[in-house]
């Protein structure tokens, strides 16, 4: 079996190329130590496996996620490296290529997005490039499938001959060359390290590669460690960078050919003139996201969800009840399946259309190149709370679903900023909380429904921003936010790429419905159908009622006087959309109008508002807690989000009710 590692800068079309080259792919867990998924695919009709490595700018990583590639090269030896480059930005792409070519493994470089380059009026002589870099250079355009068949043929061939001349050797300044030579000779002689690898290790170590320096420390590579202070004092890293850049400039100058220019680049500039306008950029951003939400929660997603809900609560539930009655199933089992599983798991599954439409919109924004612009126009606002523009997107997405919002935080470079964004994401009012707001405002604020709901949304944002500032101080975030965002060329989104992106993002939600939500539903059903004396027919004797009654004294200071809302809140941990249906069951009401009537009699406007604030901020749902755990790689942060949510929500609801009561 041949392993090809796909490696390259971000925005080179690497993922599109991976999808085009492989006919099937799977996620085989995470890369060691980080939450970046390991994606492996197979080239059709071959035993060649392609490993998709995260997009990086350099082998010297800034973030933990970027270290995946260097660690991979240190530990694994792929049979071939396919270095994907953006043909239009070859200068900076080759900086990474040089680092890879110095390793001495077989490498094929592909100039991807070759059409963009041609449209800009340039082309490169591939033979000149190949001769200078010492490896085959191909051209592709993954979006239009140009050059892919030829590339596939190259990849499944025997690659021993690819780098027959060995690693690329640049003419570094004399002192640097001498230092590299001395170190690699000692590494080969004293540590029995393979000469090419020793040479690469020496260059990377001198070039201040953090991962390689850690590797040297772990393996006690004294020839390198003993000279570290000398290398740094002589600023060898700067000299290495300058030599590489000068080599690239000479190579590209020799290989550049002029073509007739076209207007494509102008088009991106023209769109950017409007989209990134200093004044209109922000309103356009708001408009784009408003459109995204309208599509997801109004025009497309919700109507499909409503139909799905009708289907589940109507024909499917009826059919299940009839079937179970016919086969003579026990009433308890019938209740578990119909009232527990179909209602509970189904209640979450009906959100799939909304979530998938939202993910499709996000994929379109990513694929078109707009996402980078959105980060740019919101950066100034985020800078005030110690975050950067890249953190704004996850928070906005969190309005749809906190789970996806937290996942979108992966693009943030600094681990602490990413952690802060993850921790504040649950405070953004997700769409699942809207049904319960609707019930309460209809019951107690009939004339000011929109204002009250809007105030809740803004309170969520305010709490999130305040907490971000608080965490910024608490975590002693000293390092400056690295906010350097590339603005790629605009592309017309391609349907299959959008589908890939949507499915990759959304499939986790379906998986959760079948696992954690399924389990949680059974638990909630058990709590509301069993009491201390076993199976109960009246919910008043159930564990859920008992629990609500026990917790009632704690909730009284925030204005709650009945146990039912408390038990309903407990079910909300499963999924927020369950709160309203639980209240329906717990208050013994048959329809929404009846429940609104009961609520208006059980709450005052003040206690209702306090409860809404509590619902906004209290424990995140199971799916969100699970995502926090997987994204931070720690159960500690998941537990913390539960505790902090409870403390903040209780504190605020308590203050609102108590101060409000004093003023009334």
């Amino acid at each position: 079996m041949t392993t090809v590692a796909l490696l390259g800068n971000p925005n080179t079309g690497k993922t599109t190329l991976f999808n085009e080259l492989t006919d099937k792919y799977e996620y085989v867990g995470n890369w060691t130590g980080v939450t970046v998924e390991k994606k492996v695919g197979q080239i059709r009709h071959s035993d060649t496996v392609v490993v998709d490595l995260p997009g990086i700018y350099s082998l010297n990583p800034i973030t933990k996620d970027e270290s995946v590639v260097t660690n991979y090269l240190l530990k694994d030896k792929p049979d071939l490296i396919l270095n994907v480059t953006n043909a239009s930005q070859l200068k900076r792409n080759l900086l990474l290529s040089i680092e890879v070519l110095e390793l001495g493994l077989p490498v094929i470089i592909t100039l991807n997005m070759i059409d963009d380059l041609k449209r800009s009026g340039h082309y490169y002589n591939l033979e000149t490039l190949s001769k200078s870099l010492g490896c085959p250079v191909k051209t592709t355009n993954a979006r239009s499938k140009e050059g892919l068949e030829q590339l596939k043929t190259e990849l499944i061939q025997d690659n021993v001959q690819v780098n027959a001349n060995g690693p690329l050797k640049l003419n570094y300044p004399l002192m640097v060359s001498q230092a590299i030579r001395q170190a690699d000779q000692a590494l080969v002689k004293d540590y029995n390290i393979e000469p090419h690898f020793a040479h690469w290790l020496a260059i990377q170590f001198i070039n201040q590669n953090k991962v390689v320096r850690k590797y040297a420390k772990t393996h006690q590579l004294k020839p390198l460690l003993s000279q570290q202070a000398y290398y740094d004092a002589q600023k060898f890293a700067d000299q290495i960078f300058e030599t590489r850049l000068s080599f690239i400039e000479t190579t590209l100058a020799a290989a550049t050919e002029q073509l007739q220019s076209t207007q494509h680049v102008e088009l991106t500039s023209k769109i950017d003139k409007i989209v990134t306008h200093p004044v209109f950029g922000l309103p356009i951003f708001v408009g784009v996201f408003y459109l995204m939400f309208k599509l997801s929660f109004d025009w497309v997603g919700t109507p499909i969800s409503t139909e799905l809900d009708k289907l589940l609560s109507g024909p499917i539930s009826t059919w299940a009840t009839q079937f179970l009655t016919q086969v003579g199933a026990l009433p308890m089992l019938r209740s578990l399946i119909v009232n527990g599983l179909i209602a509970g798991v189904g209640g979450v599954l009906v959100f799939i259309p909304q979530i998938f439409v939202l993910f499709a919109c996000i994929s379109i924004l990513e694929d078109s190149g707009y996402m980078a612009r959105a980060a740019l126009v919101t950066d100034r606002i985020m800078e005030m709370i110690g975050l950067n523009g890249k953190a704004f997107i996850p928070l906005i997405i969190g309005f749809g679903c906190n789970v996806t919002g937290i996942m979108a935080a992966r693009t943030i470079e600094q681990p602490k900023e990413r952690l802060i964004t993850t921790l504040i994401s649950p405070f953004m009012s997700c769409s699942a909380r809207l049904p319960i707001y609707s019930l309460f405002v209809a019951a107690l604020f009939p004339r000011n429904q929109a204002v009250i709901v809007l105030s809740i949304y803004f309170l969520g944002i305010a709490v999130a921003l305040l907490m971000a500032k608080f965490y910024h101080v608490l975590f002693k975030v000293k390092e400056h936010s690295v906010f350097i965002v590339e603005l790629p060329e605009y592309h017309i989104p391609r349907l299959d790429i959008i589908w890939h992106g949507t499915w990759d993002k959304g499939k986790g939600f379906i998986k959760k419905a079948g696992t954690i939500i399924f389990a949680g539903t059974v638990l909630i059903w058990l709590l509301s159908n069993f009491g201390v004396h076993g199976y109960v027919t009246g919910i008043n004797q159930s564990f859920a009622a008992n629990l609500g009654k026990i917790l009632l004294p704690i909730f009284r200071p925030m204005g709650v006087t009945t146990w039912q809302p408390i038990s309903a809140l407990l079910t909300g941990v499963l999924a927020k959309e369950v709160i309203s249906s639980s209240m329906m069951v717990l208050f013994h009401t048959s329809n929404q109008a009846a429940l609104i009537g009961v609520l208006s009699g059980s709450f005052t406007t003040l206690s209702a508002y306090a409860l809404l604030v509590f619902i906004l901020l209290y424990i995140p749902c199971f799916a969100t807690i699970g995502t926090i755990k997987s994204e931070t790689g720690s159960a500690k942060w998941a537990a913390y989000s539960v505790v902090s949510g409870l403390v903040i929500s209780y504190g605020l609801a308590f203050l609102i009710f108590q101060i409000g009561s004093l003023l009334a």
């Binding site: 800034i62 690239i248 680049v265 100034r380 523009g389 350097i484 590339e486």
Partner: protein
């Protein structure tokens, strides 16, 4: 668009310098300022046919401020 030349990287943190280097920028590199956002917000610069958004403080340092 106004043309500038990178005067220095001194004063920038290591990660920012490293990322700018990775994008092919070095002392002496010419670049164009495409857009300035209000209240010292980010600046869009263009260098080597690529457009990059950077913070105003970084821009200010690069031009020798």
């Amino acid at each position: 668009m106004r043309k500038f030349v990178i005067q220095q990287f001194t004063g920038l943190d290591d990660s920012t310098v490293q990322r700018l280097h990775s994008l092919g920028l070095q002392t002496g590199s010419p670049f164009w300022a495409v857009r300035f956002y209000p209240f010292h917000g980010p600046v869009i610069i263009q260098a080597d046919d690529q457009r990059i958004g950077i913070r105003y403080t970084v821009f200010h340092t690069l031009i020798g401020g």
